[in-house]
């Protein structure tokens, strides 16, 4: 059972939606035009139970099936990235400095395609909650929607989402039970010494050796403090200090990111980074201000729902990977998976430039496949009671 015929019939229409969204990227929580487009389409499909303004510009729409049954949440993200597009496509971004370089235009389109089919056919019991969220790439629109109570408000029992994957062949679906994507924490560090003339270091407190010592010592957090069977990345990604060859700077700015799966490893990494910064600062006589932000938690698929989604995927596509290697990337669908059982899956779009690359473009051929997966999932989970 490949792509659902009825969805294949309106694949061209989905392509026009996707390309419209691609031309009009919006950032973070400010996905107002995108949300308005989504609402307009949903109304076209005859869906009336539409809730807007959740997490600023998020939308939740309810499609009623026939008869009593569970409520499944299907989620798409809507926001774009602050990237200058280089695809050269005739539907390229019309907004300078913004582009859909992570395929969220495609995710939104797949969920709209799903909504159209489900609203027309209603071959399922219970309800489907279509969740269109902003701010996946920034402050966790998924978290805000959960905090604003969508799970309770709409009685959502399980949640599923797809993410396009430009490293896999078109139509391959991949996932795994358990940890799929990492937790992400970010840190910023400002070191303050005493600046002065580079010919008189004795009158200064140089923050540079301290910054370098911190950079060296941070390597030991994964290399020496972490169980080698566990996974941890500590990347120092920004070191900025100084302005002239003959001036010892007063301050240095460092920043980086920490990725992990296990809560114990995550706690340990924060503790060690705090200790290393405090200790090295004291060793070099520098003061340190560390701002350590815990961001997205790890994306952990629930075993039962993953096995179910894999089974559905096998009916829709030929290639299904159910033991995909976890990625150190992160995803704010993790908050929805903390709130409700569910699964996150990758949908191959054929090999091409990677997500966040200025030449990345969602492959429109993947959209009917993703929509078919979603509708089959709903129909398999919520069969009509006859």
């Amino acid at each position: 059972m490949p792509i659902v015929n009825r969805i294949a019939d309106y694949a061209e229409e989905m392509k026009t939606w996707r390309r419209h969204l691609h031309r009009n990227p919006e950032l973070s929580l400010e996905c107002h035009e995108t949300a308005a487009f989504v609402v307009e389409r949903l109304r076209d499909f005859g869906i009336t139970d539409i809730h807007t303004g959740i997490a600023t510009s998020g939308v939740v729409a309810i499609v009623e099936g026939q008869g009593e049954g569970p409520v499944t949440g299907l989620r798409a993200d809507m926001d774009a990235l602050p990237v200058d597009e280089e695809t050269g496509a005739d539907y390229a971004s019309e907004v300078p400095g913004k582009m859909h370089a992570c395929g969220h235009d495609g995710h939104t389109t797949m969920l709209l395609g799903t909504a159209k089919y489900l609203a027309e056919t209603r071959n399922f019991s219970g309800k489907v909650a279509l969740i269109f969220q902003p701010a996946e790439e920034t402050i966790g629109g998924g978290r805000i929607m959960v905090e604003e109570g969508i799970m309770e408000r709409f009685g959502i029992e399980q949640v599923y989402a797809l993410h396009t994957d430009p490293s896999r062949p078109l139509g391959e679906i991949a996932t795994r039970p358990g940890p799929l994507m990492a937790a992400v924490d970010d840190f910023e560090l400002r070191l303050t010494g005493r600046g002065g003339h580079a010919a008189h270091p004795d009158t200064c407190i140089d923050p540079i050796p301290c910054a370098l010592a911190i950079g060296q010592a941070l390597q030991t957090v994964p290399a020496r403090n972490t169980d080698p069977l566990e996974s941890l990345v500590v990347s120092l990604t920004v070191v900025q200090t100084g302005s002239a060859t003959n001036v010892i700077p007063e301050t240095a700015y460092l920043a980086g990111t920490v990725r992990s799966f296990d809560p114990g490893i995550r706690d340990m990494a924060e503790k060690r980074i705090r200790e290393i910064v405090a200790g090295q600062a004291m060793a070099y006589g520098v003061t340190a201000e560390l701002d350590y932000q815990r961001n997205y938690p790890p994306t952990i698929n629930h075993a039962e729902q993953t096995a179910f989604a894999v089974e559905v995927a096998r009916e829709v596509v030929a290639e299904v990977v159910d033991d995909s290697v976890p990625s150190m990337g992160a995803e704010d669908f993790s908050y929805m998976l903390e709130a409700r059982p569910g699964a996150f899956l990758y949908l191959g779009q054929g090999e091409g430039p990677f997500c966040h690359h200025p030449k990345f473009d969602f492959n429109d051929e993947a959209a009917p496949i993703g929509a078919s997966f979603f509708v089959k999932l709903v129909e398999a989970r919520q069969p009509l009671q006859r």
């Binding site: 390597q219 080698p228 069977l229 996974s231 976890p326």
Partner: protein
Amino acid sequence: MPVINSIAAEADTLTAWRRHLHQQPELLFDCVKTAAFVVEQLESFGIAEIHTGIAQTGVVAIIEGREPGRTIGLRADMDALPMEDLSGTEHASKIPGMAHTCGHDGHTTMLLGAAKYLAETRNFAGRVALLFQPAEEGGGGGKVMVDEGIMDRFDIEEVYGIHNAPGEPEGHIVTAPGPLMASADEFRIDIEGVGGHGAEPQESVDPIPAASAMVQALQSIVSRNVSAIDKLVVSVTQIHAGTAHNIIPGTAFLAGTVRSFRPEIRDLAEKRLREIAEMQAQVYGCTATVTYHRGYPPTVNHTEQARFAAQVAREVVGPENVRDDIDPIMPAEDFSYMLEARPGAYLFLGQGDTPNCHHPQYDFNDAIAPIGASFFARLIETALPLKS
């Protein structure tokens, strides 16, 4: 189907063998008395085909089943460790500085117990090759036996081995398909500078900053060069330089170990270690000589054989006492060479809460020997069933 009755009935005999072996530990390839004891027992079981002197003191003995069939290898290691026996038992080592603190006395005993049963009953179609190897704890006796051609010479098609496991509940059997134990490589980096007076560093080329920089940079192999999903340990475990407060030493050396599970990661770690050592030495005006010794490869179980062995284990100790999905562990094992040569599996047999292997108070738990022997015997009878 629990422990085989006729093996359970021999439990006291097994304990006597084991304690005899415990009292006379031997090191590395020098397992002369142990091998002689093994041969004496095998002969007493009526086993005629015994080959000695393989890997110096290794023994291979063949038991023929009632019907023709395939040949399966069962392996036990025989060597002890160069340390004091502080077990405080009556059967403690009689040889100062040598002790069976890894339970190889128990492994040899379990294989002898299986041999006695299999030689008496011969309820299988094919042949069993009993592999008693020296030098697991250094020297790679397993590799030497493979290099001397035992797999081809005795037509061995599959190999199995058991290691006792302190900390696992007594009688539990655990394993996993795929990587089970790490590879273990050793390195030594000799740094040469120019020594001198501690008050006149400008006259010297100090090897200590070079050594410090190397240790710092070596951290980045794990933290920067390898995917966080892959598993690698690079441990600098020795730094030696200098003799006095006021002398800048002319040389320094570092030594350590590298553990991994995949050949690509192992190659990468060696390459980066060599680059870092040589280039950091150059930065500080010193020279570095890297001696990198590849030790045991990773112990990687073959999926089909690991699943099969776990199934046999379930029959012997009960399904609730078997796990076939344990996480790999970082210690290494030279049975890995046999698993490179032939499909097979390595399993851990719990011996309860005892001091850990290589601890001076460690002692093999005699209660598990009949379980291990029963496992080996059932494995043969299941893998090589009689046709009639």
